[in-house]
């Protein structure tokens, strides 16, 4: 519908205006700073650290780890850090292909360890992060306050009818979450003879939203959760005690009737990265902090909406001794 162009005289005028505009723009717009003029030579001089490919798995606690390690590697070691947002399995694949140098927070994953460390020999363990991972069943705090005995698994059947939903087929609902994490819940429900049905929420997002709403609306909810996790600083979920974990009690997946073990979260690096033994590898190996440390940085990111860089800077500035200790080892 370019009606304008049917009338040559008018078009001619437009063409003239365009030309004039072009010239005017060229003449007047040439003010202001030029590209590259004021950048104070921040590039180059990457030192002998070189490039450091750091996988970032998709949860906030991990992002807190990655933010601090990347910050220290860039500021103190002059590394060029490439953060890559990847799911666990894909990150481990990257060890073999040289696309990933380090994974900072590994939750158990014996299957991956077997495959990549023992069989393919492309990865090696690089020690604990100092964080302890806890997996279990949780209820919102209002329930723990109102029904104090609910946090013992022996009493769960007593309350089962409260947990009924449209999804649980007449039984109580046990909401499971992100398939990335280990779960024995089906076996647990069966072997502990609980009148519950496992419903798969399918994502961490769904779990957090469910707990958030259960607490604010005071509705019953029993769900699978884990710590360290930033959400726990928003709503302090109460953990349900299951029969205590003993070594080997989870050996047969069908017959599990005990709590989850505590996970010593650890770091995994690619074999090549470890053999090269550069500054970035030494930093990764030395990196170690507490659950509280991680929770603080995770809170900066998740609740205070700081960028990972700013969150890392804030923590590093407040904890120079810890950082110094890592650097001393590297």
């Amino acid at each position: 519908m370019r009606l304008t162009f049917h009338i040559p005289a008018r078009s001619g005028r437009i063409a003239g205006a365009v030309t004039a505009a072009t010239i005017a723009l060229t003449l007047t717009a040439c003010g202001g700073a030029k590209v590259g003029e004021s950048s104070g030579g921040s590039s180059a001089a990457a030192g002998d650290c070189g490039t450091f490919n750091l996988a970032v798995n998709p949860w906030v606690g991990y992002e807190a780890d990655a933010a601090v390690v990347a910050y220290v590697a860039e500021k103190d070691l002059n590394c060029k850090v490439n953060k890559k947002d990847l799911k666990e399995e894909i990150a481990w694949q990257g060890f073999g292909t040289g696309e990933v140098d380090a994974v900072l927070e590994n939750w158990g994953h014996d299957d991956l360890k077997k495959k990549y460390i023992d069989e393919q020999k492309t990865a090696v363990a690089a020690g604990s992060t100092g964080n302890t991972g806890v997996i279990g069943w949780y209820v919102p705090p209002w329930m723990a306050a109102k029904y104090p005995d609910i946090t013992d698994w022996n009493n769960l059947n007593k309350y089962a009818s409260m947990f009924k939903t449209s999804e649980s087929g007449g039984k109580g609902q046990l909401l499971d979450g992100d398939p990335s994490y280990v779960t024995n819940d089906e076996a647990l429900v069966k072997n502990l003879k609980l009148d519950f049905k496992v419903v798969y929420a399918g994502s961490e997002t769904a779990l957090i939203q469910a707990f958030r709403q259960a607490e604010s609306k005071k509705t019953p909810l029993l769900g699978y959760f884990y710590e360290p996790q930033w959400f726990l600083s928003e709503v302090k979920l109460a953990k349900v005690t299951l029969p205590a974990y003993t070594a080997g009690c989870d050996a047969d997946a069908e017959k599990v009737a005990c709590d989850y073990p505590k996970y010593d979260l650890d770091k995994i690096v690619s074999k090549k990265f470890a053999d090269a033994n550069g500054p970035a590898y030494k930093l990764v190996k030395a990196f170690n902090w507490s659950n509280d440390d991680q929770n603080v940085v995770a809170k900066y990111i998740a609740e205070d909406k700081m960028s990972p860089e700013d969150a890392a800077k804030k923590w590093v500035d407040a904890n120079p001794d810890k950082v110094k200790a890592w650097l001393a080892q590297s």
């Binding site: 063409a15 723009l25 590209v35 949860w59 399995e89 399918g202």
Partner: protein, 672 residues
């Protein structure tokens, strides 16, 4: 399957097929629903006796030998990646080429490059080029829209992310077209190739991306290449399909006339077939772009740069506002690219050559665009988008406020709605499907296919049922099927209500259409959190998410159909004293039966495309199997099997619908 623009040529009703219902046809139509009801009644009766038997259930943690074998195949590929010559000389070369292409485009528009702290073209240059190109290939109105849309991206504070997404989309679309158009021409010319390629395309479009993301990173490593290939697997099929459709729609007489003049095959192709199908091919380009944009968030899971990353990161902290802002940027990109290519396809038909004045303007405005590029290359103000993300954070705050309101004030009512639909409709239906023995369900589906579609459809259906059993995920498939059918019913209700309304009223159409576009292109990840707040983690949430995605296409198709009913017929009915209600139910809807069938078919395929997203919000079944397979190595094989099951469900339902539409007298339609 992101058919955003309804003008999709195949949807247009063939002239005004007057429903001259002969008595025989009438009897047949009265008989068929009755037979279907009988089959369903028999099913319910047998179910009462046999329920719970032979249901082939498999718990989420269990595996079948097939799943284990698929795991082993995956492991073997991984273990041999660095030694096998196929990798060293084939996959690695492809990867290097695609990486270079994407990195180059990023260097031009999004990433610091060539030793500069900014890309070659700053925002002013990109806006100038986009506006100029839109004007040259389409018209000044969409040029203005394009410029405005791109400036909006900058105001949202997402300039660089948007350009990264654009770079990846451009690369994926370019490669899709490079291979897709020639393949489409081939499929248009050769019936044999067409028959061969159709199921392959079905596979590419319905296989959930989650299933092949991990293997892709194994073949093409982590980086732009894998993200681009993941995108083009989904984006290329529309280019092939619509090109083939365009070639096939050229009237026989035209080709014969050329042949009789002694033209060679090449001359026929370039002189007749391509010029006459040009408009349709441009529509294929349009659909390819839309499909590529719908992959933005998923590709971010393997480190694809751009807006998808912003959405995924925001989701980790349930930051709906930030996710919405980034999702809106994707919608804006989609609408701009859609309108420009649609307008360009309309332009293709007009003869160009408005003489010297236009040529003058082309040169003049071209010079202006070049100046814009130069300025953005040289000066900081034109290179980096000025100002903060004022608009972006305002939008984010707005979305947050709406979400909070929904989860606090609205959720009691919506929970009730969820419970009603679940207990009254979904649970009984699912009980029937999952509680029946497999042989009963198989027999019922086979009989229905035979009744509605004929022998051929019945055979296809039986094969699909057998293969579904083979995947080891029969019961999960039935659960997913129940949800799919309920969702499709809801899609059709919305489709008829809004489609008729839009078809009868142009103003309504103009207001609703952008909302439909948003429903189709807004990444589902953005609205998952509010939906979870409204309906908690449940199958119903998954259904609602699927309806949001699938209803727009059905509404658009039905609206087009209603508008296609000839005005004289409607006027005649009105003159004869019919009320509005009578005009709609007795004239407009019956005459758009073909559109209704197409709308149901497309709605269903779109619903299936959301099965995996449903798995993230509590749908369980096949969707969860796929998600779990993507997350845990030892469940990989099961996830792959679940992906195949989704494809089988899609092919089965699609073939039945096709055959039914064919048999019920309407002309067969092509899926786009």
């Amino acid at each position: 399957m992101m058919v955003t623009t309804a003008p999709a040529a195949p949807a247009a009703p063939t002239s005004t097929a007057i429903p001259a219902a002969p008595p025989t046809g009438l009897r047949r139509h009265l008989g068929k629903p009755f037979q279907v009801v009988v089959v369903l009644a028999v099913w319910a009766l047998v179910w009462l006796v046999t329920r719970g038997r032979d249901t082939l259930s498999l718990s989420p943690a269990d595996l079948t030998p097939l799943h284990r074998w698929l795991n082993d195949v995956n492991d073997t590929v991984g273990a041999n990646r660095n030694t096998s010559p196929i990798f060293l000389y084939f996959f690695n070369e492809i990867r290097a080429a695609i990486d270079a292409l994407v990195t180059f485009i990023q260097g031009v528009i999004s990433q610091p490059s060539f030793g500069r702290p900014v890309p070659v073209l700053g925002w002013l240059g990109v806006v100038a080029v986009v506006a100029y190109v839109s004007w040259v290939f389409a018209n000044w109105r969409v040029a203005l829209l394009a410029a405005g849309g791109f400036v909006f991206l900058g105001l949202q504070g997402l300039w660089q992310e948007s350009m990264d997404t654009l770079a990846l989309t451009v690369a994926a679309v370019a490669i899709s077209l490079l291979f897709g158009i020639p393949l489409g021409i081939w499929a248009g010319l050769s019936d044999r190739f067409h028959r061969f390629v159709t199921p392959v395309l079905d596979f590419m479009q319905t296989m959930p991306t989650f299933v092949y993301l991990a293997p892709l990173t194994l073949l093409f490593l982590i980086g732009p290449a894998s993200a681009t290939i993941a995108t083009l697997i989904y984006a290329m099929p529309p280019a092939i399909r619509i090109t083939a459709h365009g070639i096939r729609s050229v009237p026989r007489s035209q080709i014969e006339a050329t042949d009789s003049l002694g033209a060679t095959g090449w001359q026929t192709l370039t002189g007749v077939l391509l010029p006459l199908s040009k408009r349709t091919i441009v529509l294929g380009v349009n659909q390819t772009i839309m499909a590529a944009l719908s992959m933005v968030t998923i590709a971010a899971l393997i480190d694809a740069p751009g807006l998808g990353k912003t959405v995924i990161k925001a989701l980790q902290t349930l930051d709906v506002g930030t996710a919405f802002n980034a999702g809106l940027a994707i919608v804006v990109l989609a609408i701009v690219l859609d309108r420009v290519t649609t307008a360009a396809s309309a332009r293709v038909q007009q003869t160009t050559g408005r003489g010297g004045v236009r040529r003058l303007l082309v040169i003049g405005l071209g010079a202006l665009a070049v100046v814009g590029c130069y300025l953005s290359y040289t000066y900081v103000w034109a290179a980096e988008f000025p100002g903060g993300a004022g608009l972006g954070s305002a939008l984010a705050r707005g979305a947050d406020a709406v979400t909070t309101w929904a989860q606090d004030d609205l959720s009691t009512a919506t929970e009730a709605l969820k419970n009603i639909v679940t207990f009254a409709l979904l649970n009984p239906f699912q009980a029937l499907l999952t509680g029946s023995p497999w042989w009963l369900v198989g027999a019922v589906i086979g009989t229905l296919a035979a009744l509605l579609g004929g022998l051929r459809a019945a055979v296809t259906t039986v094969v699909c049922v057998a293969l579904l059993i083979g995947t080891g995920l029969w019961q999960d498939s039935m659960t997913t099927l129940a949800m799919t059918i309920v969702a499709t019913l809801m899609v059709m209700v919305l489709g008829v209500v809004f489609g008729v309304w839009m078809g009868r009223n142009r103003h309504v159409d103009r207001i609703i259409r952008p909302i439909l576009d948003a429903g189709q292109t807004m990444p589902a990840f953005v609205y998952l959190v509010p939906f979870l707040a409204l309906f908690s983690a449940s199958r119903f949430t998954a259904i609602v998410a699927a309806v949001v995605f699938a209803a727009p296409i059905s509404i658009k198709i039905i609206a087009d159909g209603v508008r296609g009913v000839s005005a004289t017929t409607v006027e005649a009915a009105t003159a004869a004293g019919s009320s509005t209600w009578q005009v709609i139910t007795k004239v407009q809807l019956p005459m758009t039966r073909q559109s209704l069938t197409l709308a149901a078919n497309q709605g269903l395929i779109y619903v299936l495309a959301m099965v995996v997203v449903g798995g993230l919000v509590g749908a369980g079944a096949l969707g969860y199997d796929v998600v779990a397979g993507f997350s845990q190595g030892n469940l990989y094989g099961k996830g792959l099997a679940a992906g195949i099951a989704i494809v089988l469900l899609g092919i089965m339902l699609d073939r039945i619908a096709h055959a039914a539409a064919h048999r019920s007298g309407t002309t067969p339609f092509k899926r786009t």
